[in-house]
Protein backbone atom coordinates (compact mmCIF):
# COMPACT_ATOMS: atom_id res chain seq x y z
CA UNK A 1 0.00 0.00 0.00
CA UNK A 2 2.75 2.42 0.84
CA UNK A 3 4.53 1.60 -2.42
CA UNK A 4 1.35 2.39 -4.35
CA UNK A 5 1.04 5.74 -2.60
CA UNK A 6 4.66 6.60 -3.36
CA UNK A 7 4.24 5.67 -7.02
CA UNK A 8 1.04 7.62 -7.58
CA UNK A 9 2.35 10.73 -5.85
CA UNK A 10 5.50 10.68 -7.97
CA UNK A 11 3.36 10.14 -11.06
CA UNK A 12 1.25 13.20 -10.24
CA UNK A 13 4.40 15.20 -9.62
CA UNK A 14 5.73 14.06 -12.99
CA UNK A 15 2.65 14.67 -15.13
CA UNK A 16 1.89 18.19 -13.85
CA UNK A 17 5.03 19.75 -15.42
CA UNK A 18 4.16 17.89 -18.62
CA UNK A 19 0.81 19.66 -18.76
CA UNK A 20 2.42 23.04 -18.15
CA UNK A 21 5.17 22.49 -20.69
CA UNK A 22 2.81 21.54 -23.54
CA UNK A 23 2.51 25.01 -24.97
CA UNK A 24 0.06 24.34 -27.77
CA UNK A 25 -3.50 24.19 -26.38
CA UNK A 26 -4.48 21.40 -28.75
CA UNK A 27 -1.92 19.03 -27.28
CA UNK A 28 -2.40 20.38 -23.80
CA UNK A 29 -5.99 19.13 -23.87
CA UNK A 30 -4.81 15.53 -24.13
CA UNK A 31 -2.24 15.87 -21.36
CA UNK A 32 -4.82 17.61 -19.17
CA UNK A 33 -7.23 14.73 -19.63
CA UNK A 34 -4.51 12.26 -18.71
CA UNK A 35 -3.59 14.34 -15.67
CA UNK A 36 -7.23 14.32 -14.57
CA UNK A 37 -7.25 10.53 -14.79
CA UNK A 38 -4.03 10.23 -12.77
CA UNK A 39 -5.44 12.56 -10.12
CA UNK A 40 -8.60 10.46 -9.94
CA UNK A 41 -6.43 7.37 -9.46
CA UNK A 42 -4.65 9.16 -6.63
CA UNK A 43 -7.99 9.94 -5.01
CA UNK A 44 -8.96 6.27 -5.20
CA UNK A 45 -5.70 5.13 -3.66
CA UNK A 46 -6.13 7.61 -0.81
CA UNK A 47 -9.65 6.26 -0.15
CA UNK A 48 -11.77 9.11 -1.56
CA UNK A 49 -14.20 7.55 -4.10
CA UNK A 50 -16.69 10.45 -4.23
CA UNK A 51 -13.98 12.92 -5.09
CA UNK A 52 -12.49 10.52 -7.64
CA UNK A 53 -15.85 10.29 -9.45
CA UNK A 54 -16.10 14.07 -9.49
CA UNK A 55 -12.56 14.46 -10.76
CA UNK A 56 -13.08 11.95 -13.57
CA UNK A 57 -16.25 13.60 -14.79
CA UNK A 58 -15.01 17.17 -14.48
CA UNK A 59 -11.26 17.03 -14.91
CA UNK A 60 -11.01 14.33 -17.55
CA UNK A 61 -14.22 14.90 -19.53
CA UNK A 62 -15.88 18.27 -19.05
CA UNK A 63 -12.83 20.51 -18.75
CA UNK A 64 -11.06 19.22 -21.89
CA UNK A 65 -14.41 19.38 -23.68
CA UNK A 66 -14.93 23.02 -22.77
CA UNK A 67 -11.39 23.84 -23.88
CA UNK A 68 -11.91 22.13 -27.23
CA UNK A 69 -15.22 23.92 -27.73
CA UNK A 70 -13.53 27.24 -26.95
CA UNK A 71 -10.73 26.45 -29.42
CA UNK A 72 -13.29 25.60 -32.13
CA UNK A 73 -15.19 28.80 -31.55
CA UNK A 74 -11.99 30.84 -31.71
CA UNK A 75 -10.93 29.15 -34.93
CA UNK A 76 -14.24 30.07 -36.54
CA UNK A 77 -13.84 33.67 -35.40
CA UNK A 78 -10.35 33.78 -36.91
CA UNK A 79 -11.60 32.32 -40.19
CA UNK A 80 -14.38 34.86 -40.36
CA UNK A 81 -11.97 37.67 -39.62
CA UNK A 82 -9.66 36.49 -42.40
CA UNK A 83 -12.57 36.31 -44.80
CA UNK A 84 -13.69 39.82 -43.95
CA UNK A 85 -10.13 41.08 -44.05
CA UNK A 86 -9.68 39.78 -47.57
CA UNK A 87 -12.86 41.37 -48.92
Amino acid sequence: MRLLQWVILLLVAGVAPAVVLSRDPKSQVVTLSFYGLICALMFFIFQAPDVALSQITIGAVMLPLMIMLALTKMRRQNLRREREGKK
Binding site: Q28, Y35, F46, A48, G59, I67, Q77
Partner: protein, 116 residues
Protein backbone atom coordinates in the same frame (compact mmCIF):
# COMPACT_ATOMS: atom_id res chain seq x y z
CA UNK B 1 11.35 8.46 6.16
CA UNK B 2 10.22 10.66 3.33
CA UNK B 3 6.74 9.35 2.67
CA UNK B 4 5.05 11.19 5.57
CA UNK B 5 5.92 14.53 3.98
CA UNK B 6 5.82 13.59 0.30
CA UNK B 7 2.20 14.68 -0.39
CA UNK B 8 2.86 18.15 0.96
CA UNK B 9 5.99 18.39 -1.15
CA UNK B 10 4.05 17.24 -4.22
CA UNK B 11 1.37 19.87 -3.53
CA UNK B 12 4.01 22.61 -3.29
CA UNK B 13 5.74 21.30 -6.45
CA UNK B 14 2.54 21.29 -8.52
CA UNK B 15 1.63 24.74 -7.19
CA UNK B 16 4.98 26.18 -8.26
CA UNK B 17 4.74 24.59 -11.69
CA UNK B 18 1.25 26.04 -12.14
CA UNK B 19 2.56 29.48 -11.22
CA UNK B 20 5.45 29.07 -13.65
CA UNK B 21 2.99 28.19 -16.39
CA UNK B 22 0.90 31.28 -15.72
CA UNK B 23 3.90 33.62 -15.65
CA UNK B 24 5.58 32.34 -18.80
CA UNK B 25 2.52 31.68 -20.90
CA UNK B 26 2.18 32.91 -24.49
CA UNK B 27 -1.39 31.82 -24.99
CA UNK B 28 -4.41 32.64 -22.87
CA UNK B 29 -5.92 29.15 -23.16
CA UNK B 30 -2.65 27.66 -21.90
CA UNK B 31 -2.79 30.09 -19.00
CA UNK B 32 -6.32 29.01 -18.11
CA UNK B 33 -5.25 25.37 -18.02
CA UNK B 34 -2.36 26.29 -15.72
CA UNK B 35 -4.87 27.86 -13.35
CA UNK B 36 -6.63 24.48 -13.29
CA UNK B 37 -3.32 22.78 -12.44
CA UNK B 38 -2.88 25.26 -9.60
CA UNK B 39 -6.25 24.24 -8.23
CA UNK B 40 -5.37 20.55 -8.29
CA UNK B 41 -2.44 21.20 -5.97
CA UNK B 42 -4.93 22.14 -3.26
CA UNK B 43 -6.68 18.79 -3.72
CA UNK B 44 -3.43 16.96 -3.00
CA UNK B 45 -2.93 19.03 0.15
CA UNK B 46 -6.47 18.46 1.43
CA UNK B 47 -6.25 14.75 0.68
CA UNK B 48 -3.06 14.43 2.67
CA UNK B 49 -4.53 16.30 5.64
CA UNK B 50 -7.52 14.01 5.90
CA UNK B 51 -5.78 10.67 5.44
CA UNK B 52 -5.70 8.28 8.36
CA UNK B 53 -3.28 5.35 8.37
CA UNK B 54 -5.14 2.10 7.82
CA UNK B 55 -8.37 3.94 7.14
CA UNK B 56 -10.76 3.06 4.36
CA UNK B 57 -13.33 5.01 2.35
CA UNK B 58 -15.98 6.76 4.49
CA UNK B 59 -18.89 4.82 3.00
CA UNK B 60 -20.57 2.42 5.41
CA UNK B 61 -22.66 0.55 2.83
CA UNK B 62 -20.89 -2.75 3.41
CA UNK B 63 -18.66 -2.26 6.43
CA UNK B 64 -19.74 -1.97 10.06
CA UNK B 65 -19.98 1.49 11.51
CA UNK B 66 -17.03 1.33 13.86
CA UNK B 67 -14.21 0.70 11.35
CA UNK B 68 -11.47 3.25 10.88
CA UNK B 69 -12.21 5.59 7.99
CA UNK B 70 -10.47 8.60 6.58
CA UNK B 71 -11.87 12.03 7.25
CA UNK B 72 -15.08 12.68 5.27
CA UNK B 73 -15.26 16.39 5.98
CA UNK B 74 -12.12 17.14 3.99
CA UNK B 75 -13.55 15.13 1.08
CA UNK B 76 -16.72 17.22 1.19
CA UNK B 77 -14.50 20.30 0.93
CA UNK B 78 -12.73 18.79 -2.08
CA UNK B 79 -16.06 18.12 -3.80
CA UNK B 80 -17.02 21.76 -3.45
CA UNK B 81 -13.57 22.71 -4.70
CA UNK B 82 -13.99 20.66 -7.88
CA UNK B 83 -17.39 22.21 -8.63
CA UNK B 84 -15.96 25.69 -8.15
CA UNK B 85 -13.07 24.79 -10.47
CA UNK B 86 -15.53 23.77 -13.19
CA UNK B 87 -17.52 26.99 -12.80
CA UNK B 88 -14.43 29.21 -12.83
CA UNK B 89 -12.98 27.45 -15.88
CA UNK B 90 -16.21 27.83 -17.82
CA UNK B 91 -16.30 31.55 -17.19
CA UNK B 92 -12.57 32.06 -17.85
CA UNK B 93 -12.75 30.21 -21.15
CA UNK B 94 -15.73 32.24 -22.32
CA UNK B 95 -13.82 35.41 -21.47
CA UNK B 96 -10.84 34.18 -23.50
CA UNK B 97 -13.12 33.53 -26.48
CA UNK B 98 -14.58 37.02 -26.15
CA UNK B 99 -11.08 38.52 -25.96
CA UNK B 100 -10.15 36.70 -29.15
CA UNK B 101 -13.25 38.03 -30.87
CA UNK B 102 -12.59 41.63 -29.89
CA UNK B 103 -8.82 41.80 -30.15
CA UNK B 104 -8.01 39.13 -32.71
CA UNK B 105 -5.32 37.48 -30.65
CA UNK B 106 -4.87 35.33 -27.57
CA UNK B 107 -1.31 36.34 -26.83
CA UNK B 108 -1.19 38.08 -23.44
CA UNK B 109 1.80 40.14 -24.58
CA UNK B 110 -0.29 41.78 -27.30
CA UNK B 111 -3.33 42.22 -25.10
CA UNK B 112 -1.63 44.57 -22.69
CA UNK B 113 -3.55 47.73 -23.36
CA UNK B 114 -7.24 48.16 -22.61
CA UNK B 115 -9.42 48.33 -25.67
CA UNK B 116 -12.29 50.09 -24.11
Amino acid sequence: MMLPYLPYAVAAWVFLWGLYGIVTSKNLVHQVVCVAILQTSTYVLLLAIGYKLGGTAPVFADIPVGTTVVDPLVQALMLTDIVVEAAVMALLLSMVVKANELAGTVDPEELRFLMG
